[in-house]
């Protein structure tokens, strides 16, 4: 017995409300972030991640208030990603009650930002979020590149090399999303997850594509992920976090029940 594999529900938050993205278009409202966070806490979620998809800067203050409200009532780790661009953005989120922040586009724009953030706040709170798409043709050795701006903008950077570089710069964890799978409900990109998890010494969270409970277990056993993140499978009551953990436990995966 030892460290448990984690299940992390992810809430996409737009101007204070939880929404669900299907490949980042066709967004549906799924409710109040505080109520949803409490529900996941009761179900046994190991952490909760908020992805702030608010478009405008002045509405970002709303996210700070959401984090403050949730952190006052839900005593499990909280991560906030989306729009984290400066040391000051990080400080505001940590002071509001977030335990970790996810850095995505800002890391691609300036890799030294991750180093600066890790030196200032410690690696334990710096999660680098990587959005990757497979760029190799069928039959070729698989290769993935990172994309920014919700998967629209290619960067030409190899995803596995990028993960290694971000860890060298001080990332304490990698949140790895397959843009090919995100919103498809066809399961994680297990080859991608395994490639990154084997390449780095820090924990890797698999994300993108969960359609059924078995996908979560596969992310751990086949993808070698340390944690699995999912949104829609939990948001609409198809499954609870508790059910997911029971299934994982029945397959010999160590979880917190």
């Amino acid at each position: 017995m030892g460290l448990a594999k984690r299940i992390i529900p992810c809430l996409d938050v737009d101007n204070g409300r939880v929404v669900k993205g299907v490949q980042f278009v066709d967004i549906r409202d799924a409710g109040d972030p505080i109520e949803i966070a409490k529900r996941y806490d009761e179900q046994g979620a190991d952490e909760i991640t908020f992805l702030d998809i608010t478009a405008t800067h002045h509405e970002r203050d709303t996210m700070v208030h959401v984090v403050e409200a949730v952190a006052s009532q839900v005593f499990i780790p909280l991560t906030v990603g989306g729009g984290i661009r400066t040391v000051d953005d990080i400080r505001r989120m940590l002071n509001a009650g977030a335990d970790k922040v996810g850095i995505n586009s800002a890391a691609v724009k300036n890799p030294d930002f991750v180093r600066e953030a890790a030196e200032r706040f410690g690696s334990q709170c710096i999660v680098v979020a990587i959005d990757a798409k497979r760029v190799s043709a069928e039959g070729e050795t698989p290769r993935w590149e990172i994309f920014t701006h919700g998967g629209r903008k290619p960067t030409g950077i190899d995803a596995v090399e990028w993960a290694k570089k971000m860890v060298a710069n001080g990332a304490g964890e990698i949140l790895l999303t397959s843009m090919d799978r995100d919103g498809t409900k066809s399961g994680f990109d297990l080859a991608l997850t395994r490639a990154v998890s084997e390449a780095v010494d820090v924990p890797v969270i698999a994300s993108g594509g969960v359609g059924e409970l078995q996908d979560l277990s596969d992310g751990i056993t086949e993808g070698l992920a340390d944690a699995v993140l999912a949104a829609s499978i939990f948001h609409f009551g198809e499954h609870t976090v508790q059910e997911a953990k029971q299934q994982m436990a029945s397959q010999g995966i160590e979880v917190r029940l």
Partner: protein, 214 residues
């Protein structure tokens, strides 16, 4: 009325720990965050949190004149260190190329070896997530907490006290390490009770109700 001071020395988020203390205290205790020596020492219970790196932690404590406050509080009041706060209580840390810490509990703070492995599996560092805490002593702070209960950890270094008798709990990650230590009126945890849901809140409630005897 009990008054619980959370020491603010600029290392990380104190909101979660103070909110958790408020939640378990209800009307029975007043919880406040402070960096003022007299105010801290006026409290009945003192909580010493911390996240980040040890060098900044010790530098900031000294700059604010709080190193002496921590020493004094740890001599006479129910006192609890969390995570980096716990590590700062030892004599010396390997982090940041070696830093002398407060020396309240003799011992070393050591890094997990990389790559860490167990049964052929690579173990990731930081040690991040929910792991089991095996209580190795009877202590009032373990009241109503199950043996081997899971708590939330996030750390790359661990404490190795000189005297094994101060170990209050062990946790296994590659090897066993001390996940809680105690002595007289002092208790400290490597894990974050303020982020460990029900069991964590129970531990904090036990601390607020603790008379400092064990």
């Amino acid at each position: 009325m009990r008054r619980v001071a959370v020491i603010d020395y600029g290392m990380g988020n104190l909101r979660s720990v103070s909110k958790a203390l408020e939640t378990v205290s209800g009307q029975s205790a007043q919880v406040f965050i402070s960096s003022k020596p007299e105010e801290i020492l006026s409290a009945s219970h003192i909580l010493f949190p911390g996240v980040g790196a040890i060098r900044d932690c010790i530098d900031e404590l000294k700059r604010l004149g709080l190193d002496e406050v921590v020493q004094e509080a740890a001599r006479e009041k129910p006192f609890m260190g969390i995570c980096l706060g716990m590590q700062a209580m030892l004599t010396h840390s390997e982090e940041n190329n070696g830093i002398d810490a407060l020396g309240i509990i003799p011992g070393e703070v050591k890094a997990f070896d990389k790559p860490l492995s167990a049964a052929g599996d690579k173990l990731k560092v930081p040690h991040m997530g929910w792991n089991q805490v095996h209580q190795t002593c009877d202590h009032p702070l373990w009241n109503n907490i199950e043996q081997d209960e899971r708590f939330y950890f996030v750390h790359g270094y661990f404490v190795s006290p000189a005297d094994p008798a101060v170990v209050a709990a062990t946790t296994h990650y590659g090897a066993d390490f001390a996940s809680a230590i105690y002595r007289d009126n002092v208790f400290a945890t490597q894990f974050h009770p303020e982020k460990s849901q029900r069991a964590g809140l129970q531990l904090l409630e036990n601390f607020v109700n603790w008379d400092g005897q064990c």
